[in-house]
Amino acid sequence: MKKVVNFLRGSVEVEAQGAFPERFLNLCAQRGVSFWGVEWVESTAVRLKVPRQERGDLEDLAVRSGCTLSEVERGGLPTFLERFRRRYALLAGLALSLLAVLLMTQFVLVVDVSGNTEVPSATILSTLRRLGVRPGAFGPALEINYIEQRALLELEGISWMSINLHGARAEVLVRERVKAPELVDESEHGDIIAETDGVITRLEVLAGETERKVGEPVAAGDVLIQGNVLLEGPMYSEQDVGWQQVRAQGRVEAQTWRTLQATIPLTAQVKEYTGRETGRWFLTILGKRINFYRKSGISFPQYDKISSTWNAGSGMDLALPLSLGRETMREYTLTPAEVDLAAAQEMLEAQLERALTEQIEGGSITRTEYTAVVTDEMLTVTLRAECTEEIGRFVPFDEPGYQTRLPAGRGDETNS
């Protein structure tokens, strides 16, 4: 430990020469000058090490003890640092480096968003970018509270946001809004009608009246659940109380049949690369793009542009706002080519199935049947599918063009 302390404060090795060098040692001890490493060189000379700051006191003691003092060696950290005292370029570089480190940590280089599942990070980042939180922004100049409030107003799906600046990293913590349940407007009265033809497989009436039964076929537009409810009179009364209009609610599932068709030509234009290509480089620093090429047109009539970007720090799981990119333009010509029939049919079948799934909205496909026909260089694939799906659709009484009817046998009446 003492060696470390002596190294840090620096030491000087001196040699005292005289008739009685031990007197010099005794004087040092009396004056409280700490020394170590005493070495008797000869009978008239002694070497010892003293702390750097006590070196000045020794001259007087040497004179008083009748010795001549000479400095042998200097050591320790202060002596090491003293070498750099006149190296102005090095000191200036060091000062500039420190300044750069201090300044650079004040700029936002990375923006990290966490806590979101529904709202995409890109949406949050683009909003924050518009409000000033982006790579290259000067951290102390950002009005964090104001930005948080503005971002909350602009991002509908976010209920809470906190922006924390950790040096060059802006940490954005968000909490998403819990979706409110869908409210049904009970004051809007109407019927539930069939959206498509089918055979009812399940019928649940929550509000309204129905005379439909499971297994009954219905056509598109047929009323499935009526919003006009008959209020029957008391027992043995010959008159009913009247009609009450409600909002018809319920679930009506039916077996339906759907036919979808898709067509594709059997010859297609295929790209064929000519082998000619040209490239140009660019650098993106803090969102600003620097192009290393002049503005000139591409001489190829048809070409593909392929962009490759290398981001600094991507290997370290850190996205720094510095990237190098290259755009490659590859010339191609279009040549007609025969389409593989099996591959084309498979592609169309997959497209039709996707379209069917979108149409039935949560329903299930019971059975499918595909037919493929080639006519006039065109491949036509037809899908016939048997599905089970919700066919009920609410229609308000006041929808233009809609006329509801009272249940059969209870008199016809029209609502406007």
């Binding site: 031990e22 040692l25 040092c28 001890a29 009396q30 700490s34 005493v38």
Partner: protein, 93 residues
């Protein structure tokens, strides 16, 4: 000078008579030998001769001669000193 010596002698005798510690009352040198590698001395009067095999220390009325190998004066101030090394003999003169 003679008065000072006389005073020391009186204090020394007083310490003997009243059975008091001489190093505290009369400022007599006090030595502490720890094993054969370390010698501490309080109330010394300075170094008289120094070498790696022999060190002479003034203790006022007496001289302490420390003999050994690789002797080194590790630390020293006005009242105390520490000698380390392989101590073979300590002689009072």
């Amino acid at each position: 000078m003679a008065g000072k010596r006389k005073k020391e002698s009186v204090l020394e005798r007083t310490a003997q008579v009243f059975d008091l510690p001489g190093d505290l009352v009369a400022g007599l040198p006090r030595m502490e030998l720890i094993g054969d590698r370390e010698l501490r001395m309080e109330n010394h009067r300075g170094i008289l001769a120094y070498g790696s095999e022999e060190i002479h220390i003034s203790g006022g009325k007496l001289i302490l001669k420390v003999r050994g190998e690789g002797l080194e004066l590790r630390s020293m101030n006005a009242g105390e000193l520490l000698i380390t090394g392989q101590i073979r003999a300590v002689e009072l003169d």
